[in-house]
Symmetry: C2
Subunit: 472 residues, 2 copies
């Protein structure tokens, strides 16, 4: 799911327009309440069910979201959420290993799963007549997973192979991994979602069992259904299949707030590669953690201003303009669970020194700190940011993802309705102010990929396991 | 116990000469077996008891060592071992808060405790007639600690104040803390023993209770007694007071092996200070982890060669010679539980740029990589390293510490008997080889303290709490 994740991160947000809604909060854990566009209930056992009806095609997307992922882990067991995601396809008493996927395929559906920092999710896209099938299968594996040691011993090798392929043998990913580890002292985003290889090497089936029993429960899950169904029907089926599952006592998560950073941090990654790569990141708050929500939306807009298509500043000034870089991108995750990084990553153009590239990027940062954007630029960027979020509405899958993310990071799905208004309300001066407040050198981390000669004698990586599902 | 810890680290080792011994291993967990000089038994509940008789004065040192410390912790609960050490003085049913210390003082004894990366230990030094008193008190608090929320709420503030005083307001400590955090990706030594302030802020009495119940048990403890007592008497008292305590099932510790480092890492610490400070560290194995033990002893000797008194290379070439530095020290912990760092830390002489100092230190490293030490230098360094370990034998307290450390990191106390022979067997070429193998730039981390103007208007730190006990 690499592609989906990346896309999501870069588009980052979505609004569903002017729907009027009644939000049934978690503290009213019983009744159904219909709302326009999106409807949600909380079952008695604490499970959330959110439905968006969409009659365009006789298809339904079902997603089960668990509040667990890389940022819930701690040193020593990194990667356990993602390994568990793999194991979720390895069978229950009623449906042995592989059966789940086989049944969905037989019914013409597609299914997969993804693990991220703040969530693990499972999805099917299938003809709407088979909704019940999906829910019955998901309910079964929510509490009845076998977690056999035999399956684990095979699957952990699949995951290690995935790590080799996607991180260890991929210089830009490796650089990004080490950048994150260097940037944070205490914040859980320092850990790779796929896990340190050293932790994968020593992971046991008992780690998986503990993780599963701790986090996979109705009161830690959200069912999101988008498509050609009625909310009433979904609620009824959800009660039938999930209603009898017992809630568990969830552990109190440690906040893992980041320790104050007192100066720039730098890390070099010297591995065989052809092209250099630069990642820079400033520590920033997110919508969930920020005191003044306007700041989070201003950072979101700033992200669009620097890196939002061909007329963005990075593209215009660094890629097409000065031709210093082959590519430069900015990244800000408005909906992260913890404080995060505003990252700037770039590949220098041929023969451009990495220091020159770094200086050019800093120059762009300083420009926005010196001078707020003009009204014309601001309006253009707003239009683009809003448009790309509106385009996402065209996909049932992304609609469901947006709802799932917001529920899972405890912002609640109605937060998506604020997006357009909040973005439109950001002023040019607010954009400058967040750049001044957060883009300071003492809170910066810089990672550089310094390519080493590639030894062509090295044997190619082992073939990819066909069964490999993937995180990130 | 800051002083004791630092001293220990820098002296690092101790040998007890040519005693002949019979080691009662952990896999023969029952009977007493007398050995010359040191005698040890393992009680039926798994508790180790090690005694060294020493009749010089009618005094006894008792120490209880627990296999738990900073390196046993994970993100989110950093500092919990040290907070628990504080709480160990806050009362049981039989001896309420403060009573333990009061009783020891009334009997003319001294007592305290220290928490380190790989252990937590409690000690008394008292007239030998009061040995029984100490053991009865220690046995009581091993399983009967009250851990009241009221005491915790007060004590956590004492610990936070300790952190402010010893880390946050002490630029060199802060630099060292951030150096460690930057150096390691996955190894638990990246975490501060005192804990991140953010974790102390969110610690609860439940965290303490869990930690205490998990690790404070006879099968995770070693009693070390050195002084004017008979081993027979100690063994008998140990059985009487600790023999009835139930063992617990200890968790399997994750190895937390460090992820491979691919390039130099640098961190700047910019805080108000008067004097710059530089810390550099190379990743190295320790006696416990190394494949070839000779390498660990060669690193130990190299440590003495670079930084062992006035005729060491650092002193001769960088401090007295070129006068580039006010001080330069090397540090290697032979007896650490996990892979560690060989650190080089230095304060530049007035007006010497930190880059010049760094280059001069690297030059010293390169010199030893190019050219093995002469036989004369090697013999001189060996004599010094051995002598400083022999001097430690003069102190009952250090004897007990050496035994406690070796037992607690699972090397076993007899390892101390190898020390002198192993050091004497190191060759000049081995010293050069470990310098070549481990002192490579891609495995280096560098931290620099860059002093900022001191604002004299800042109010002084709050007064130290009188009750403050301390870690590290």
């Amino acid at each position: 799911m690499m592609r989906i994740y990346v896309l999501l991160i870069s588009l980052a947000t979505l609004a569903i327009g002017l729907t009027i809604f009644v939000f049934v909060g978690d503290d009213k854990p019983i009744d159904e309440e219909a709302v326009d566009g999106v409807q949600a209930i909380t079952l008695k056992n604490g499970m959330r069910v959110v439905v968006q009806e969409n009659r365009r095609a006789p298809v339904v997307v079902t997603q089960i979201w668990y509040k667990v992922g890389g940022s819930y882990e701690h040193d020593g067991i990194t990667g356990v959420s993602h390994v568990l995601e793999h194991m979720m396809f390895k069978g229950t008493e009623d449906y042995p290993a592989g059966k789940f996927s086989e049944i969905i395929a037989e019914h013409g559906g597609r299914e997969n799963a993804f693990t991220s920092k703040d969530y693990t999710a499972y999805f099917q896209r299938i003809s709407n007549e088979h909704l019940e099938l999906c829910l019955s299968l998901e309910a079964d594996r929510m509490r009845n997973l076998l977690l056999s040691d035999d399956e684990f011993i095979k699957e952990i090798e699949v995951v290690k192979e995935e790590r080799r392929l996607r991180t260890d043998d991929k210089p830009t990913s490796l650089t990004y991994e080490r950048f994150n580890a260097a940037a944070f002292a205490n914040n859980p985003y320092r850990q790779p979602i796929i896990g340190w290889m050293e932790d994968l090497d020593t992971m046991t089936i008992d780690d998986l069992k503990e993780w599963y029993l701790t986090w996979y429960a109705p009161n830690n899950a959200t069912l999101v259904v988008v498509g050609d169904v009625t909310a009433k029907e979904v609620f009824s089926l959800a009660k039938e299949y999930f209603g009898s599952l017992k809630p568990v006592e969830l552990p109190q998560l440690k906040p893992r707030q980041e320790a104050k950073q007192y100066g720039i941090q730098r890390v070099e990654v010297k591995v065989p590669a052809r092209v250099p790569f630069l990642v820079m990141g400033y520590k920033v708050p997110v919508l969930k953690s920020v005191d003044d929500k306007d700041e989070a939306y201003a950072l979101e807009l700033l992200n669009g201003l620097l890196d939002g298509g061909n007329s963005s500043r990075f593209s215009e000034n660094l890629v097409r303009g000065s031709q210093i870089a082959t590519s430069v991108s900015a990244n800000y995750n408005l909906y992260a669970l913890h404080d995060s990084l505003f990252t700037l990553s770039a590949i220098p153009a041929n023969d451009v020194a990495i220091d020159k590239l770094k200086a050019a990027i800093i120059e762009q940062i300083e420009a926005i700190q010196d001078q707020p954007p003009t009204q014309a630029e601001l309006e253009r960027v707003k239009a683009q940011v809003v448009a790309s979020s509106v385009y996402e509405q065209d996909s049932s899958f992304y609609q469901a993802m947006k709802i799932g993310i917001l529920e899972t990071v405890n912002l609640g799905w109605p937060a998506m309705n604020e997006y357009v208004d909040r973005i439109n309300a950001v002023t040019a001066e607010q954009v400058r102010q967040v750049a001044r407040k957060y883009f300071i050198e003492d809170h910066l981390t810089v990672a550089e990929l310094i390519p080493q000669a590639i030894n062509l004698q090295t044997p190619a990586a082992a073939t990819v396991s066909a069964g490999g599902r993937h995180a990130q």
